[in-house]
């Protein structure tokens, strides 16, 4: 019996990749900036957090409260990390894309 595969939405995949790239420094501001840099277009913090919440609900992310700082008006950061299930979903999505694009020549 084959294991059920999980596939990610486009923005979900990008956010997960950004978190993997940032490593331990993965919190809202940095995730937003990394995604914006990669997409070369403006990305809102609301869209990022909506996606982060959805990914966390699906079990693809874990999060924990970090330290506060004066620049944040004394408000704490929330750090994110990709879970095992999240990595699996990334692999499945990447595999499906690879299978579909194999042999195609894209301009």
């Amino acid at each position: 019996m084959t294991k059920q595969k999980d596939y990610l939405g486009q923005f979900e995949e990008i956010v997960l990749l950004a978190i993997l790239r940032l490593g331990s420094n993965s919190y809202g501001t940095k995730i937003r900036q990394t995604v914006e840099e990669a997409l070369e277009k403006s990305v809102s913090i609301g869209a990022v957090y909506t996606t982060l919440d959805r990914l966390e609900q699906k079990g693809y992310l874990t999060s924990w409260q970090g330290e506060a700082s004066p620049q944040r008006g004394g408000r704490a950061k929330r750090y994110f990390e990709v879970s095992g299930a999240g990595e699996k979903a990334l692999k499945d999505t990447n595999f499906a894309r690879h299978r579909l694009s194999k042999g195609l020549v894209l301009a």
Binding site: Q33, Y49, T50, D53
Partner: protein, 138 residues
């Protein structure tokens, strides 16, 4: 100015905030029942002049922060998002000036409203409608 609040924690937060506020004339949230039920415990985080005194040089526009407080239902998310925006605001203000940073902040508010409202509406629209009907028919 007295405020009648049922939530003791919020009442003491507001009282503490009013005592600590060093600058007169800072705009205050309307102390209506609807606002209190929406804003909840993050009123202090938004209006607290003590927090603003912690910013190194500049701080985000109050109106922008109020908008986020109104549209974000989860207290924790409010704190996280407001903190993230404040951090980036301070960075931009240092690099490009406060005017640029303020414009950027309001652009973030405008761009974030729809996804956040859509998300909040999914969970709380029915509750909000029920509450509104109850208040109108009361």
């Amino acid at each position: 100015m007295g405020i009648e609040l049922s939530d003791e924690g919020l009442k003491s937060s507001l009282q503490r905030e009013q005592r600590l506020r060093p600058r007169p004339g800072v705009p205050d949230l309307e102390k209506t029942e609807a606002h209190r039920s929406i804003v909840g415990k993050d009123v202090e985080a938004v209006l607290n002049e003590n927090a603003r005194a912690n910013y190194p040089k500049s701080y985000p526009p109050v109106a922008g922060e109020k908008l986020f407080v109104l549209i974000l239902s989860r207290e924790e998310r409010r704190t996280n998002i407001l903190g993230d925006l404040a951090e980036e605001y301070c960075e931009l203000a240092e690099k490009f000036g406060e005017r640029f940073a303020t414009l950027w902040y309001y652009k973030q508010v405008a761009a974030s409203v729809l996804p956040l409202i859509r998300k909040a509406a999914r969970w709380s629209l029915l509750l909000w409608a029920g509450e509104l009907i109850r208040k109108l028919t009361h």
